[in-house]
Symmetry: C2
């Protein structure tokens, strides 16, 4: 598996843990050898592993937390620190159209494993119906 494939796999694993409300998985996916950061939609920035993981424990422990999937992922600045940009599709609930968010995910390599070091997501004014059907990553 190339680094690029491994990074996109880590990005997919992040959303699987999110949608699966799997805090144990989420905890292992975050970097532990340096600072981490997180900006949830509408939140001020969180800094440090303790604050970031506490936020995820709270979110994933909430049965109303949304089902989120990623699409159109692209890799920027492949290197020791790599950025993935993608759209997040927040699953339809109560008849409402799915919401689309923009996400920045930063990955760092710890040993042989890519870990997430920073996540920033916010609302994108994109109509989900304007997006194609393909869910596979578009790698630039």
């Amino acid at each position: 598996m190339s680094d690029r494939e491994a990074i996109l796999f880590a990005n997919t694993a992040f959303y699987a843990a999110f949608s699966g409300r799997d805090y144990a998985a989420m905890e292992t996916l975050w970097a532990s050898e340096g600072d981490v950061g997180c900006v949830h939609p509408g939140w001020p920035p969180l800094k440090g592993r303790k604050a970031v993981l506490a936020s995820w424990k709270n979110i994933l422990g909430n049965e109303a937390s949304p089902q989120v999937s990623a699409r159109d992922a692209v890799v920027l600045y492949e290197g020791a620190t790599t950025i993935v940009l993608c759209l997040e599709i927040v699953a339809e609930r109560e008849g409402a159209h799915p919401q689309v968010l923009s996400a920045t995910n930063v990955f760092v390599k710890e040993g042989s494993v890519w870990k997430i070091a920073h996540h920033h997501a916010g609302v994108a004014n994109v109509d989900v119906r304007s997006l194609g059907d393909e869910e596979k990553p578009v790698v630039n």
Copy 2:
């Protein structure tokens, strides 16, 4: 000047170019040796220098573009690629309170100069009146 000081200086220069509607400065501040990305508030991700700079040319050419200043900047993952998290204060207009946004800014070193490689900003539900008066960066 340490790398950390130089990175925070580059972050300040970015907001000076933004508030000064100085496209020529903005153009030189962005990385040119690799991919760049940008997520403006409410936008889908932009990828590549051409799309990113076109968006800034449009924003900075608009006399209604907001005056934005940064505060509470912290440096994450200082290294070849470094992340700055900060709050953005969008200046008061027409009697409305200033709006607060969360920003992720990623910097890379090209030669001896730190350049911005990725910017992501979005609304933070923070009342500006809840913030202290200090505007100086808080370096962790």
